[in-house]
Symmetry: C2
Subunit: 418 residues, 2 copies
Amino acid sequence: MAVLHGDNPTHAIVMVGLPARGKTYVARKIMRYLSWLGHKTQLFNVGNYRREHIGSLQAHGFFDPANPDGVRQRTDMALMALDDMLRWFGEGGEVAIYDATNSTRERRRLIQEHCERANARVIFIESICDEAIVEVNVRNTKLDSPDYVGIDPDVAVADFRARIAHYARAYEPVDEQEGSYIKLIDVGRQVNVNLIHGYLGSRLVSFLVNLHNVPRPIWLTRHGQTEYNVDGRIGGNSSLSEWGRRYAQNLKRFYDEVIAPQGPPEVWTSTLVRTHETASILGRQTLQWRALNEIEAGICDGLTYAEIKDRYPEEWRARSRDKTGYRYPQGESYMDVIQRAEPVILELERQKKPVMIISHQAVLRSIYGYLMGHEPDQIPHLSIPLHTVLELTPKAYGLAEQRIQLGPAVPAHAGPSS
Amino acid sequence: MAVLHGDNPTHAIVMVGLPARGKTYVARKIMRYLSWLGHKTQLFNVGNYRREHIGSLQAHGFFDPANPDGVRQRTDMALMALDDMLRWFGEGGEVAIYDATNSTRERRRLIQEHCERANARVIFIESICDEAIVEVNVRNTKLDSPDYVGIDPDVAVADFRARIAHYARAYEPVDEQEGSYIKLIDVGRQVNVNLIHGYLGSRLVSFLVNLHNVPRPIWLTRHGQTEYNVDGRIGGNSSLSEWGRRYAQNLKRFYDEVIAPQGPPEVWTSTLVRTHETASILGRQTLQWRALNEIEAGICDGLTYAEIKDRYPEEWRARSRDKTGYRYPQGESYMDVIQRAEPVILELERQKKPVMIISHQAVLRSIYGYLMGHEPDQIPHLSIPLHTVLELTPKAYGLAEQRIQLGPAVPAHAGPSS
């Protein structure tokens, strides 16, 4: 499914940076982004190996470079993760993300040598942050870490600061001689890039320059029920039904009571009538994206599922076999929808304001799939019901989800969902 | 036509750098790229204003910062170009590229102030090169400059070096306080980015990291004639005709005699049968791109132009009115083809090897249009005949074109071209 055009597809993305520089935040974002684009991507977090094999509750002395026992054990864990990564490349893995401090030149040379054996190209991603960001990171993510379960927050912060200090003593920034790197300064404010070319590299850079760490909610909803929904027809460009218009009114109430008080959001719709009709009652300026239009059903546009099964039994079967890769004749596949939704994702990452998206089932499955970390194969099977708002709010490393059904559930139309 | 999603669409891209740092090369590349993507883009080259209004033959003393008369005249030219740029923004211009040395902080502040009045966002692009690249640039581009017409090459080089020295004395690199910038070090080897976010910024960065200045030829050809071509039908996935197979043989001969001796090229095809059949005789490994497939004609796929005109007269008229924006029902428009061909363009920019592309009329029009600097409105009208190789070889700031017809011309099928 993946298309790493002409590139060597095997890459190791190696995180570099002191603790609390947002490495794991960035690593998980990259993981979600590349998986979502269809690349076989895997995260190797050395801290998790240490927690699993040695134990999570280690006081800062364990991380002291002058503690030979700690050094040996930590090196063992790094090598164990590295071995797993190489094994995974051997099984057809494409992009591995190796998440650890990797803060010395020697450690990075070791990783380079291992990756060369697997014929994997290494890209270092070094995160450098000013003290204010570090402070926020420590408070927001480290206090909830399994390393500090049941520890007094002030003690935990002091211990973690001591752990950072141990690493800082041995820290060597990545330099030009080490090959390809992307340096992120203050989570995307400044980005320095060395020897980054090609499809994967340029995708990564354009993704990373849009990153920020300003938390804000996102709301996703489908348009209200349409005349086509009532008839069980897919595609088309019909107007809202009576039930759909009621949903728009309920959405307006929800908007006034829940969304607007959090500051005026960006409101994005598709270019189709049914999302405009749903949004218009909000009385807000909207941004219309063609990239938010529903999957194009080609020759099946305007048909019911029963009609499709009847007229195009071969197509019906092909779609059941591979709903992600299946492309409607003269229409689109879910993979096509994912590709065209990518600029929406970049803009969503860039936006620091709350965003509300009023769109369609297949494209919202794709966007929701990105946000919640689903792979393409799962995306056509995610539940995005009519007349329901999905509220996604930031938590450490991800989003918390709440589903708010507004008004009575609308019965699903005949046949399997589109 | 342009979609600068949610962004302020008005941008001034301001080049910065000493003479012979490839600023104009980069500026023209950006110009071609953004115009091709449908953005209203214009280049303002201060050197051209100077050549037009003051005269091209100025000895280096004119550029000496200690020469008050030269300073005043050069400032006048910079302001004249700036005024024109602001006027152009007022007329609906989107992205202006302001090409000059702009090598002092004071000059850049002046530009910033002007742009703020037009509500245009400034992005500085600073080009920094090592001496080896400067040497090549001087020899390759400056000796052909109108500034040195009829001057002995050695004298010209010495004068140009003196001109660089004048600028170098006053040169101040762009710093963080000046806002958004992209620094290109050695034409894309290293890229440093400050405060670059959003659609246009991330597009630019991912374009610029792929730039290089290694000259290499590109060959474009359509597949050989197909059974569908013989019948005058569009789209489909048919095999080569007898004439088409002969073209493949002629192409093989051309490959052996002209292309192969220049070093083995990358060979790219679409995923359709007719390009594979054309390429297979070359006996080379090929890279297959879905992005190189022919424009999808939707409900018109498999029809002749006469049948389309007959069955869908409204569609026929709509297409005649706007061939670039017109989208076949359940199919694609030329703008869609351009968008999906963009990864091919990035990969084409990145490749340092010769590249041979065997593809289809609409998508080759798009790629050729990018390479030769045509805007979307012209692209559907570019001539890419069957059984002809387009050979594009680098010259200063662009490509020289040669068309090699292999075998007898194949008569065009009925109706206007697709």
